[in-house]
């Protein structure tokens, strides 16, 4: 199945800012955030986009 233009995951350090359908990964610090985002990016063939310093989304284009 091909997925196009979908948010595959949300990675954040701020639990207050996110909720909803996509899988959400909570991280404690910036380093962990980068690490998780890089891994999910590679695994899902998506692109990690930064919405803010503490929130990344992985989008399949």
């Amino acid at each position: 199945m091909m997925i196009e233009k979908a948010i595959l995951a949300v990675i954040t350090m701020n639990r207050q800012k996110v909720s909803g359908g996509a899988p959400i990964f909570f991280c404690d610090n910036k380093k962990e955030l980068e690490y998780v985002a890089a891994n999910i990016e590679a695994i899902t063939d998506g692109i990690a986009h930064a919405l803010s310093e503490e929130m990344f989304i992985i989008v399949k284009h």
């Binding site: 980068e34 890089a38 063939d45 998506g46 692109i47 990690a48 986009h49 930064a50 990344f56």
Partner: protein, 295 residues
């Protein structure tokens, strides 16, 4: 041997030669070497034969034989379909795809070249029969020359000014000059992009060009050609490392972001400059009657 044999052979040979001349395999490596070429040479031979055979048919007052040419038209439309299908199939496996507009451009040129071959064969045989072999040779050479002229379209450097521009990040946003390209989250990717990426600005030379280079197919063609000629720093599974072209909405300039393996500015400018202007992308707003009426 009939009285027409030599003239027909002449037409077929000259038509096939014109196909060989037009069948240059360049940096695109298309048609693919050997088998792809054999297909097109064979089709060129058929086209030349059809063109050459039409003349004696008319001479003998066999006018219905001309309907054979409609068979040729169908045949060559199939050539176009064949090219389109093959290229579309393999396009998904390119690191940077050609895009549908480029594929259509290639397919159209394959069809039209067969018609040029047919005309060359036709005129070659006609002049052989009407005058003599020397006139026929002159006519054939003129045909070859015209075919050569017709097959080469314009290049990008004729319609835009190309200059290098620095790429930089503003937060997560990647910019070429002031043109926003995309959002990159990871610091590691940003470092890679700043290290390997190059930016170019294409400034349109006139109003018609703005629409032409805005065409998404034309932009994809630029990216594909640059990636073929200079290599590309990416692999499957790294969609963040994608060459992209975005447009400045204010003035129609293009911001070209590429990730070449050969990082030579002059070469890159030369490669971008020699990208063909795709027929399907060309628009002529200046020819619009409603515009000129008011103006």
């Amino acid at each position: 041997m009939t009285e027409y044999t030599l003239s027909i052979v002449f037409g077929v040979v000259i038509g096939t030669i014109s196909r060989i001349i037009m069948l240059k395999t360049d940096y695109r490596q298309y048609p693919t070497y050997l088998h792809g070429k054999i297909i097109h040479l064979s089709l060129g031979f058929i086209a030349a034969s059809l063109g050459a055979l039409a003349v004696p048919a008319i001479m003998e007052k066999e006018f219905t034989a001309v309907t054979l040419l409609t068979v040729a038209a169908t045949q060559f439309r199939d050539v176009r379909n064949m090219e389109r299908n093959t290229l579309t199939e393999v396009d998904g496996f390119e690191l940077v795809s050609r895009g549908k507009t480029y594929i259509e451009g290639i397919a159209i040129s394959f069809e039209s070249r067969n018609y040029l071959v047919m005309f060359t064969g036709f005129l070659g045989t006609l002049s052989y029969i009407m005058w003599n072999v020397f006139v026929a040779i002159v006519v054939a050479i003129i045909c070859l020359f015209i075919s050569n002229r017709l097959m080469s379209g314009s290049k990008l450097e004729e319609i835009v000014d190309i200059e290098q521009s620095r790429i930089h990040f503003d937060g997560a946003g990647l910019y070429v000059d002031n043109i926003y390209i995309m959002n990159i989250g990871l610091e590691e990717r940003k470092r890679e992009i700043l290290k390997y990426g190059m930016g170019f600005i294409l400034t349109p030379k006139n109003i018609n060009v703005v629409t032409t280079i805005g065409n998404l197919g034309q932009r994809q063609a630029i990216l594909h050609d640059v990636s073929v000629s200079l290599g590309v720093f990416r692999d499957s599974g790294t969609p963040a490392l994608t060459p992209l072209i975005k447009r400045d909405l204010d003035d129609g300039r293009l911001g070209v972001f590429i990730l070449p393996q050969i990082r030579d500015v002059d070469k890159a400018i030369a490669v971008i400059g020699s990208v063909p202007v795709l027929e399907s992308a060309v628009r002529m707003p200046s020819e619009s009657k409603s515009l000129t009426k008011r103006g």
